[in-house]
Amino acid sequence: MQTMLKVENVVKSFDGTGVLKGVSFTLDEGKVIVIVGPSGCGKSTLLRCINGLEQVDSGKIYLKDELISGRTRDMHLVRQKVGMVFQSYDLFPHMNVMQNLLLGPTKALRKNGEEVRREALAMLRRVGLEGKENALPRTLSGGQKQRVALVRAMLMHPELLLLDEITAALDPEMVSEVLNVVIDLARDGMTMAIVTHEMRFAEAVADQVLFLEDGMAAESGPPEQFFHHPQTERARRFLRSFSYESKNSRKEKQDE
């Protein structure tokens, strides 16, 4: 299997405060990595470094075999291959849903508008937003906006998708409608790096988990290991703070 993303010893600080202190991981094509950790541990910064919204201080990031860190001039070409969705949706408020969806493919990729429109309608239907193509973002609910944002990113046909706490701003009843879309994408083989505080979702979607604390990878491994047999005390403490018990650990308790 081909390596999609390789992060090597990435260091980043803001105003002298170290946020990432040498983080490394690799992600294979078609796999999903979930990055968890206490707030301020550098999860979001790590994602932002990957698509160049922040410049790394040192370290290297490769997409497939292409070095993508430390570039400034042609970063937009990299971003056409690396999609990102944010906590705050960030739809363009002056455009309707379809205009939001078409902008990237028709302008950045110079694709034919009609073709993209057809594809966009199909994707909207798939995420349960049929008939919303002419709606303005402000008339949509948070969950609907976030699904539009996901479709907007997917229409670029990215090789890698970065999701930065995409349900953190949503009302609880809307979380699952967004996460189901992500689980669908994972099933279709989309390579993703996901930052989330939804532990149940993380366990369901992850192929590997990276636990960051204080800018360092405190633990990393397959989800079964991280969620059920965390190796470090810090990870155990973190999971306890969510009072997270996966199905298995509950079962274990019953067995006892």
Binding site: L53, H76, F92, P93, H94, L103, A108, R138, T139
Partner: protein, 223 residues
């Protein structure tokens, strides 16, 4: 009030209004361009140009247009640069207006959430595409009142062009006043002429502002 005097001199005022309006619009057009460039330099922190744009803005805003015009018209020829009065008028007004427009655009751009810029970057837009499709439409919605205030201000500032011996409204009135002595009629017509030019601009500004507000441009709150 001597109405026959007024009627007799309407053609003079019309030609003066033509000069005022024409050079006012040239100045406004160039100001918008200069303002936009300066503001984008500052917004994107383009090395060196950011600094130059700031210096220029401060210089232009903190010196009177009259002084700027004298500098262009009387000062520059001393160092061998001779410009026509028309050129001085347009350059002078642009120098002043560009700085004001830059600040108006900047207020608009800074009101657009930083995350909008990032969202545009994340779908692979180039910087130019991001400006054109994402940032400027939203920035303009906020900046429109300030931009129109500047348009009106700049058209009024054309009254300084009389020092360049251009026959704009101000100079027409001044000439009539000193030759005929009918100060009340002359000044009445002068005020009326400026009012007739600027009232429509105000109305257009009002209309555009309302349209943008109804369209919900640059406004993410529910209606």
């Amino acid at each position: 009030m001597d109405w026959s005097f007024i009627g007799q001199h309407i053609p003079d005022y019309l030609s003066g209004a033509g000069v005022t309006l024409r050079f006012g619009l040239y100045g406004v057009g160039c100001s918008l361009l200069v303002g936009l460039i300066c503001c984008l330099c500052r917004y994107f922190r383009v090395p060196v140009f950011t600094w130059l744009a700031r210096l220029y803005t401060e210089l232009a805003r903190n010196t009177p247009l009259l002084v700027q015009l004298f500098f262009l018209y009387a000062g520059l020829p001393r160092v061998g640069v001779k410009l026509s009065a028309d050129a001085c008028a347009v350059i002078g007004l642009t120098f002043l207006g560009g700085a004001y427009m830059a600040e108006a655009f900047r207020s608009g751009l800074e009101s657009v959430d930083q995350t909008q810029k990032e969202a545009g970057e994340c779908i692979g837009l180039t910087r130019g595409q991001n400006i054109r499709y994402v940032l400027l439409p939203q920035a303009l919605a906020t900046a429109v009142p300030a931009i129109f205030a500047n348009v009106i201000f700049l058209i009024k500032e054309t009254s300084m062009f009389s020092v360049l011996a251009m026959m704009d409204l101000m100079n027409v009135a001044d000439t009539l006043r000193t030759s005929g002595g009918r100060t009340v009629e002359v000044l009445f017509m002068l005020a009326a002429a400026y009012l007739l030019i600027l009232m429509p601009v105000s109305l257009i500004a009002y209309w555009v502002e309302r349209r943008l507000r109804y369209a919900g441009f640059g406004d993410q709150r529910p209606v």
